[in-house]
Symmetry: C3
Subunit: 178 residues, 3 copies
């Protein structure tokens, strides 16, 4: 087994809690492992903010629906003035495309980033992966919602994909090394 995957292995097969209690007083946590910790905690910071950002896009979509009076369901339209408001609207569709693109990109990042964090990456390199993705996705959402000139949105999307593909290839590399 490769040395990097040994870390993933230990993650997968951890010993029971009393092990922690018994040994906790014998030796300090190794700095090396604590850095892994930092990587995952770092990943949690950016990924959780991005999940909240996705929720915000949903809230904005709802607000635009109310403001433009454009509802997807007859029952919603009826409650807000009549069936004629069961209709599509370019601004609502724009919000929904932003949200849809988030699903296509942020959700796989949650998976890849979690696994990658346990492959013993260099903490700075790992931070760079997470940070580039984070900034790329924030710019992507802003560019979508405020209709920034092309190709800002596409560039942000492409830049954010680079760390994702990098993490996917590193996971595959660790797997095939076995």
């Amino acid at each position: 087994m490769s040395s990097d995957l040994r870390n993933l292995n230990s993650f997968m097969t951890g010993s029971p809690p009393f092990g922690q209690a018994l040994e906790g007083d014998k030796a300090p946590a190794s700095a090396h492992k604590m850095m892994d910790n930092e990587v995952f905690v770092n990943f949690l910071l950016y990924s959780t903010i991005l999940v909240i950002k996705m929720y915000l896009v949903a809230v904005i979509t709802g607000q635009v629906r109310l403001r433009k009076k454009a509802f997807a369901n007859p029952e919603d339209a009826l409650k807000h003035g009549g069936l004629q408001f069961c209709r599509t609207d370019p601004d609502v569709e724009r919000c929904r495309r932003a949200h849809g693109n988030d699903l296509e990109n942020i959700l796989p990042f949650l998976f890849l980033g979690s696994i990658y964090s346990f492959l013993n990456p260099d903490p700075f390199i790992a931070w760079l992966h997470f940070f580039i993705f984070f900034v790329g996705r924030i710019i992507h959402t802003v560019a979508y919602l405020v209709k920034l000139k092309a190709p800002i949105r596409s560039v942000a999307y492409t830049v954010a994909q680079v760390p994702c593909v990098s993490m996917a290839l590193q996971i595959l590399w660790e797997v095939v090394k076995l």
Copy 2:
């Protein structure tokens, strides 16, 4: 490091399996850690049922497509009577919106709930988070598919979002405490 994150830390840096074998006979698992176990097992119960629920919405969509003869692809329409059945249908679109909303909400819950389960939450509070989300999403799907009067569906959606935002904020809080 905060005491709550120490648990996440141990989750992230578990020791190899022989540790378990060697120490397993020395001491019983601590009740405290077993409660964490219960939280994650509890989370698995609700999250897995919700994944199956999503699969059911997909099955229902397929059945409605067949019953209303409304297919998304020409090749499917050709197999079921002719190209004129490659068309949209309000009931099919309704199923697809229900499914799409599940993707936007249940998939992030799978991530947030997994992490939150390892932040050493109070088991009852954790159960409350999972249960409110679960009931909210079941009502959301039923309200969508059987066209319940507004705002039942929107209220169910909003209520289900509360534990998600709560878990996200608690994860962020643990991260920034470091």
Copy 3:
């Protein structure tokens, strides 16, 4: 607690890293646990390739948009010849349906497969689950994009769902056994 869930329990409550360092030289990793490792590593192989496959569908969608000059956003159309190219196209919509179906099926697989890998499954049976899903989803995408005759795509979709439902039911079974 069931013996199968004991493994999940140890996964959830791993001891700190120095445990690994201290004991790593005393005893070899148990073959039994290494098999679990193999299951998860096996899962990572197929799941990561499928995530990359999803990214490829997104790239293909972009290429088809450029080739057919059919853009979702006015700002993109303006950059590529004019607002008349902000329009839908059957081939673009086909790519988007393939991608959407991936989101509905591959993303839940990432969750179910991760959990299932820690339920101590038989390695061959687990491989069979992952491999059937993998082949089913590859055929699904190819059938969608090159417009294979019905019902190839639907059969591939259904076959790929079988291991997912199987994994979900096995997770539920382990949970309710407690």
